[in-house]
Every structure is written in C-alpha cells, then in structure tokens.
C-alpha cells in the first residue's frame, strides 16, 4: 500500500548512498590514509592550502566586535580571509580538543580556556577584556524590575544561562554573593539565546552581559546592579599551537590586544582588562 509513495521514499536515500559510496571509493583510491582519524596530521597536511585563511573560535558575546576586527585584519592582510565560529565557549573548547582546525580561541571564561590549555593545545592565554552582567528587561519593563532582588519574586519570569556556560556561572556567582535564590523558568544554552527570550518578551528579565544589552540596539534595556562587580568574567585569548594558519594566529591576537582592538571592544561595552 506504500508502493506509490515508497518508490520515491526509497529512491532518494538510495541515490544518496550511491553518491556517498562513490565519493568514499574516490578518496580511498587517491589517498590510502584517508581513513586515518588523526586530526593533527590532517590539519598539518592541509596547512599549505589554508595558510590564507584564519579561523577564529570566539565566544558568542564577541560576535559583533570580532566580526569588526576580522574585517580590519583582512584589510591589513590582503589575500587573507578570516572565518569565525561563534558559540558557547564550552562548546568551542570541546570542538578544539576534538581536533577542530582553529587558529585562535577567545573564550568568555578562564575555565573554558583551561580545557584547551590543559590539552596543551594553546600557549599561555592573555586576558584581553572583562565583561559585567546586567539585568536585561523588555523596554516596557512589564514586571517593574529595578534590582536583583526583584528577580526572586515568583511572579517575575526570569531566564538565566545554564550553569555549564560562562554567563550562567557568572549569574550564579552574582546571586550567591547577593545571597538571593532565583528560580528561573529556563536555563538557556548560551547568552544570545537568553537575550532572545527577553527580546521576544517571553520573560520579564534575564541576566546577560552588558555588551549583549548594548548589541541588541534598544530591543532590551539594561539595569546595573552592584553585585555584578563581584562576578566579572575575564575573557582570555590565545593562539593555538596547532594553528593551520601559522603566524597569522598570533598576528590576530596582537590586533585584539592593540589599541585598535581595545577601542572596538570598549565601545561595545567591554571593560578593559588591566
């Protein structure tokens, strides 16, 4: 009874499997080591071809600033393309330790950077900026939130980052310092997802970075709170030891640490590191 449908249902995967099959045959014919899963050797062998590409893994909260710095880097290094992988620092650290071909890692917390340095995949990292939490509320602030204490009200819907990611760790620290217990409606997977819940008005408040509030361009309002000073996140950056882009990696780190880099980052709301 499936016959008329099944003809198509069967044909599509079969065609795909054939394609994959022929692709696998092709690569195993030309290169007998293609089945080797050792990432370092794969990265090393492809280095000459990708030396004009710089791959930067950076925390989601750096999306706007690093994109701008990437353009500046491309302008001063003709022929070089900078590609970014923005995401939760913890996820990026996992990807790097699993052999993802990255040149630079900029993390939103020392703990996530430590995952990479512990695996001897990066030299000594440098703290380049610091980020402070703010309470983000929708522009009309429906729950009339004014302080951290207001978030403990059970009628106020709050979104926090999951404790596994840096913004969640910082939020927990700030709440612990204040001696407050907040039961959120959700623990979001990264800071941008948390911010989105406020932008859509689905929650009354969230703890996110000041820089994320600024980057939302007025879609949310930020409220400073004193306990944020005790939960400041340091952002470390490091060139990776197995960087396929070679010296370009350190040059990008230098740009981030330069006055130009500082200007871009502080304009976006980051606090300078030293």
């Amino acid at each position: 009874m499936f016959r008329s449908v099944s003809r198509w249902v069967v044909a599509a995967p079969a065609a795909l499997a054939l394609l994959l099959g022929s692709a696998a045959c092709g690569s195993s014919g030309s290169d007998s080591s293609a089945t080797s899963s050792s990432a370092p050797s794969a990265a090393a062998s492809s280095a000459p071809a990708t030396a004009n590409t710089l791959t930067v893994f950076a925390a989601a909260s750096l999306t706007e600033t690093f994109t701008e710095l990437g353009k500046a880097f491309e302008a001063s290094h003709p022929g070089v393309t900078v590609t970014f992988n923005f995401g939760s620092s913890a996820t990026l650290a996992q990807q790097i330790t699993q052999g993802a071909p990255a040149d630079v890692f900029a993390a939103a917390s020392p703990a996530t950077m430590k995952t990479v340095t512990d695996a001897s995949l990066a030299g000594s990292p440098t703290t380049f900026v610091r980020n402070k939490l703010q309470i983000a509320v929708p522009p009309d602030n429906p729950a009339k939130v004014a302080s951290l204490k207001d978030l403990t009200d059970s009628k106020v819907k709050v979104a926090l980052c999951a404790e596994q990611v840096p913004c969640g760790a910082a939020a927990k620290k700030a709440l612990d310092v204040a001696g407050l217990k907040v039961t959120p409606v959700t623990f979001e997977q990264d800071v941008k997802a948390t911010l989105t819940k406020v932008e859509l008005g689905e929650v009354d408040a969230a703890l996110v970075y000041k820089t994320d509030v600024l980057s939302s361009g007025g879609k949310v309002n930020g409220i400073d709170f004193p306990e944020a000073d005790q939960a400041i996140n340091d952002y470390p950056i490091a060139a990776l030891t197995k960087a396929p882009g070679g010296p370009l990696a350190q040059q990008f780190v230098d740009l981030v640490l330069s006055q130009q880099g500082k200007d871009v980052l502080t304009k976006a709301g980051f606090e300078s590191a030293a």
Binding site: F2, S4, T186, F187, A193, K197, E202
Partner: protein, 273 residues
C-alpha cells in the same frame, strides 16, 4: 513488504552486489557512529551516572512528552491526511506543501515561529493568556506543542501515502450499502490503512523523542519540567562529554527496544495482512 517476501524466498546470497554493496555501506554509515558511542562510554561509572535523579527525570519527561505529542498528532494528523487524500478542494497541493514545512524548517526557527504565535506576546498566545490564563512557553505542555509541531508531518505523510494507495472500492462499496462518510472512515478506511497509521505514529514518536531545537527554543530548559533527554545531552556536552554519552546511550537503548518490538508486532504483521 513485498521486498521482504522476495528476500525470504531467494535468500540474501542472490541479492545483486550492485544493491548489496551500497546497502551494506549505508548500514555501516548509520551504525558506526553508534559503535563510537559504545566504545567511548565510561562503563565503570555507568551505574551511578544512570541512576542520577536528573537522568531519570529527563527520561521520564522525554517518554511522556513524545507519547502525548504522538497522541495529539494522531488526533489531528489522521483527519488531516484523510482530508488531503480524499477531499479535493482548490489549493490542495499548496496545503500539502505547507503541511510539510516543519520537515524542512530548521527546528530552532520552528521554535521561534511557535513563540511568535503561541508566546505570551504572540498572535494567539496573547489572547490565550488574557482569556484563559494559559501560557505555553516554559511548560511541559509547551514541550508537547514543540514536539508535535516537528513530528506530526511524518505521520501525515505516512498516512496520506497509505490512503492514496488504498483500494477505494471498499469505501465505495460501504457507501453504496448506506454507510455514512464517518462510518466508512471509522469502519473501513482506518482498518484498511492501519499499518500506515502505525508506521507513521512510530516515526512521529521517534522524531518527537529526539526533538531538540524547537523544544529548547519554545519550551526552554528547566530540569524536570522541560528538560528532555536531548536537552540534557546537549548541556552535559558543554562540560562533561562522558555524561552526555551515557545519556545518549539511554535514549538509544530505549528507542531501539521500543521501535524493534513495535515493528515486529505491528508493522510487519500489519503489512502482511
């Protein structure tokens, strides 16, 4: 179904290699990643990780929501499939294409779309909240909504295919004997396409069980309330890959056991009839 009979009669040895080689390659492609999980699993700490309360909470929630989402999909999806297969109305092919949108839409976008409609500032959600005090995001009901949204098309497609392939003469005969359209649907059509409905429900349930993107976007992530197994796996992966592997294995074992037993009991028996 027919293929099963043929392979049983002629045996695997007669299968032409042009089909056998890609078939085996395809199987290896699908099964090897699972082997990878088994190899990397932290067997020594497995018992204590398995009995952690948050694992059991997530598993219970996953099984519950996937089952309710499948029930909702059956309730709405079977009539929808019938409408698409049996009633001709203008724009039917457009409606059919629209119904399958969740299949191609990235689930995260599906989650945002659900928020825009059913969120508390959404088109419908606004009214739900002011009129009934119902708010779906961040609730277990929200998980069911997200899962049903993503999984129902699998059921609709499967049932519609079965309906189109079914012999219309039985329904016509019943109608000429004076049965109403509802009676025909209930007593003739549904039994006739039952294997298609079961197969669709199984697909739908499996898809709902693995749902991640729409769920985390629409229902958020809160342990015991909206944190299903895939969400727990994703967050465990951030800091503790071993734990993520254990959680994935649990999900795998549960789904393989349920799907394998269902297939034997219902799908093959049904299609042989």
């Amino acid at each position: 179904m027919a293929a099963d009979d043929v392979s049983r009669r002629s045996g695997l040895t007669r299968a032409p290699w042009v089909l056998l080689a890609p078939a085996l390659l395809g199987m290896a492609f699908l099964v090897l990643p699972l082997a990878g999980l088994l190899v990397r699993a932290p067997w020594t700490t497995l018992p204590e990780r398995l009995t952690a309360p948050h694992v059991l909470d997530a598993l219970r929630l996953s099984l519950f929501t996937a089952t309710v989402a499948t029930a909702v999909s059956l309730l709405l999806g079977v009539p929808l499939a019938w409408l698409l297969a049996r009633v001709s109305f203008p724009g039917r092919s457009l409606v059919r294409a629209l119904v399958t949108i969740p299949l191609v839409l990235p689930p995260v976008v599906g989650g945002v779309a659900l928020l825009l409609v059913l969120g508390r500032r959404g088109l419908v959600g606004q009214w739900l909240e002011s009129a009934f005090g119902i708010s779906l995001p961040f609730t277990t009901a929200g998980v069911v909504v997200a899962e049903a949204f993503v999984a129902m098309p699998f059921l609709v497609i499967s049932v519609e295919g079965a309906l189109r392939a079914a012999d219309l003469r039985f329904e016509e005969a019943a109608a000429t004997l004076g049965a109403s359209r509802w009676t025909v649907f209930r007593r003739v059509t549904v039994p006739l396409v039952a294997p298609g409905i079961v197969a669709g429900a199984v697909l739908c349930w499996a898809r709902a069980l693995g749902e991640f993107g729409a769920t985390i976007t629409f229902a958020g992530n809160f342990p015991g309330r909206t944190q299903t197994m895939p969400l727990a796996v994703y967050l465990a992966l951030e800091t503790d890959p071993d734990s993520a592997i254990v959680l994935s294995l649990v999900l795998l074992v549960v789904s393989v056991v349920i799907l394998a037993s269902l297939r034997d009991r219902w799908v093959s028996a049904g299609s042989a009839a």
